[in-house]
Amino acid sequence: MLEIRQLAFAYGGDQAPVMQFDLDVTAGEVLSLIGPSGSGKSTLLGLVAGFLAPSSGQILLDGVAIENLPVASRPVSIVFQQHNLFPHLDLYTNVALGVDPSLRLTREQAGAVKAALERLGLDQLQQRKPGELSGGQRQRVALARVLVRKRKILLLDEAFAALGPALRVELIGLVKTLVHENNMVAMLVSHQPRDALIASPRTAFICDGRVATLQATVELLEQSQLPDVRNYLGTM
């Protein structure tokens, strides 16, 4: 279980916090984060990943604090909207980097890379460069790397925003399966309420640097009376 407790962030470090987050994500769950631009969704992911330093608060994974761990030591994998892959490396190498950046892989590790590519339907393409792939295939490669990294927390920062609706549904389905199979916790940032509906039983609405509400996705999207939510959804 991932617990985020009064996790505060201040620009410039020494000023008063402008954002503060509290939420929980249970094992096997994909929690969606929706909200207006600049509300703090990506900042929250940056804090969990360690790209940003919190001014106070805690991030607990199964009861263990991880907010002071360096980026590389955190049990986190992240998938961005783009630039997840190194364009000059083939798919196999891009995924293998997730196991060991020195690329000195044991036979078992190399097998795991191949298995992950196979699991994502990319085994025939492993010698190709990212530029030769479609947007959906590129995100699949990023997910294959998530698989080999075997980290408990998966962060998806508008990972599927550039894809068409059918492909988004397919890849979100894939993420749900991977998270469930590997007992991970995942947070999905999206600008599409429909993504939240497909991906998550629960969704957090982030507004002005805070979790304004965290509730069942269907309720949030269809019945919420919060003005900010209605304003965001255009149902006001």
């Binding site: 590389a72 630039h83 020195s102």
Partner: protein
């Protein structure tokens, strides 16, 4: 017209049989040990200069990229843009001031020859290479750095997977550009070369025409130089396009990420001292030298007048020609003749591969049988300098002009915005900044030129660069230092005036 100006001198070069001293079938030039020596030294010094400039530049650019919060970073990047407008003879004076006997780091007589040439070439090309390399780091997506961190990459692994792949795309082009600049470097080799052992093709051409009066040998050397330059250009085109030179005096940087390392800071400081020291030393020497004596000399003021006239006239000619070329190329592109349009754009950059001294030699050979070339100094020098500035004009104006055409041409047509009104309401407000920059660059370039003016100049028409060269030749180092300071201030002042005067304020 442009073609005629370039091709006529080249045709003149090929007409060897009309030249004094030439006999049909005479191949003594090719068998001469002198030419072989000159050829070897030209290539050797260009090769060494490239290595000595670009390899340290990789380290310095990396240090700049990884230290986005380094105090004075913007200021130092501006300092690194200075060699773009510092005339070569001024840099030479700076180098002599630091490394000459009596300088801060005296090298004695060994300054003259390969050592001095390398020191001056690195002064020019290290900052240029840094400014060309830095965007390669800045082009690495921020997400890649974050992924590198998350995957636990070490510094070596970041270099291997993130930095080197971004760098290697641009490196061959940058190295070839620097190699070409050093191969065609004239003023530095002429003043610091120190005799026959350290002569390049460019200097040998000059010596053949002005001292030995052997036009036939000059032509052979010029053809050799042309061939070499074309070879380098072909290799460059085969490998890739030349890198986009960031032609601006602003720092033009954006932060990438912070990895605090004292080594990076040390590298930046060493490079800054290397670039800044010659200018600082020259400044100090000028003030403790014969400042008043030199400034009160009427000959200096006459040279200032010549320098300004040649600089401004060349800029006017170059900017006008560039504007017309780009307008013509845009009209061809609109008519669907994109191939021809690209050809026109390319024609403006052809002087990249035809050094000014080669065009000058061609003009010299072409005109000398018919007219007194020394009576035609101004038109010839202004035309050649305008040609040399043309690639800068096209580089500065081209993108903005093409964007204007693409965005507003149909709107202008529908509003019937034409002629003067179009110029006043659309083109001037949007193009004045690149126009100002282009005019400023060409003016500074022409004012600092030594190659063409040395070939054609007379005492009456001497520019400041030529005066400095003459003073250096007469071992009047203190006087040359003061003249260099005057030229430097004039170049920077004119650059600032034109860039601001034509281009307006940054936010305009």
């Amino acid at each position: 017209m442009l073609g005629l100006i370039i091709l006529a001198p080249l045709a003149g070069l090929l007409n060897l049989s009309t030249l004094p001293g030439y006999e049909p079938g005479d191949l003594r030039f090719w068998h001469s040990g002198y030419i072989r020596r000159v050829l070897f030294f030209s290539l050797w010094q260009a090769f060494l200069s490239t290595i000595c400039s670009v390899l340290p530049a990789i380290l310095v650019a990396r240090a700049f990229a990884l230290q986005p919060d380094f105090p004075m970073r913007g200021l130092l990047l501006r300092l690194f843009a200075l060699p773009l407008v510092v005339p070569a003879v001024v840099a030479v004076i700076g180098v002599v001031s630091v490394y000459g006997s009596g300088g801060w780091i005296p090298l004695g007589k060994s300054l003259y020859g390969l050592n001095g040439i390398l020191l001056a070439h690195v002064f020019f090309n290290l900052p240029l290479a840094v400014r060309l390399l830095l965007p390669q780091w800045q082009a690495i997506p921020g997400h890649h750095w974050q992924l590198g961190d998350q995957l636990g990459m070490s510094a070596w692994q970041r270099w291997r997977f993130l930095e080197w792949p971004a760098l290697r795309e641009a490196l061959p082009g940058i190295m070839l550009l620097v190699f070409m600049l050093c191969l065609t470097s004239f003023a530095v080799v002429l003043t610091l070369g120190g005799g026959p052992k350290s002569t390049t093709l460019e200097v040998a051409i000059y010596q053949s025409l002005r001292f030995d009066f052997d036009p036939a040998r000059a032509v052979v050397l010029a053809l050799l130089q042309l061939g070499l330059c074309m070879l380098v250009a072909i290799v460059t085109l085969k490998l890739q396009r030349l890198p986009e030179v960031e032609i601006t005096l602003t720092s033009g940087s954006r932060p990438t990420r912070t990895i605090q390392k004292p080594l990076n800071i040390a590298l930046i400081l060493v490079a800054a001292v290397y670039v800044g020291l010659p200018l600082l030393s020259m400044l100090i020497d000028a003030f403790k030298g014969q400042l008043l004596g030199v400034i009160s000399n009427i000959y200096l003021w006459q040279s200032i007048g010549n320098t300004l006239f040649i600089g401004l006239a060349a800029a006017l000619l170059s900017v006008s020609a560039g504007w017309l070329l780009l307008q013509y190329s845009a009209s061809l592109a609109r008519a669907g003749q994109t191939g021809k349009a690209k050809l026109i754009d390319l024609a403006g950059s052809i002087v990249y591969v035809v050094p000014p001294l080669v065009i000058g030699t061609g003009m010299f050979v072409l005109l000398s049988p018919h007219v007194d070339v020394f009576a035609w100094v101004y038109p010839v020098v202004i035309t050649i300098n305008a040609l040399m500035g043309l690639p800068f004009v096209i580089r500065c104006l081209g993108p903005a002009m093409r964007q204007n055409q693409a965005r507003y041409h149909y709107l202008c047509q529908s509003l019937q915005l034409q002629g003067w009104n179009r110029l006043r309401y659309l083109e001037w407000p949007l193009l004045r900044r690149p126009l100002g920059l282009a005019a400023a660059l060409v003016t500074a370039l022409a004012m600092g030129d030594l190659g063409v003016i040395a070939l054609f100049g007379t005492p009456d028409t001497a520019t400041l660069s030529l005066v400095i060269y003459q003073q250096l030749g007469a071992y009047l180092i203190p006087q040359a230092t003061v003249t260099a300071l005057v030229l430097l201030l004039l170049c920077l002042g004119m650059f600032w005036l034109l860039e601001r005067g034509i281009g307006g304020k940054v936010d305009a």
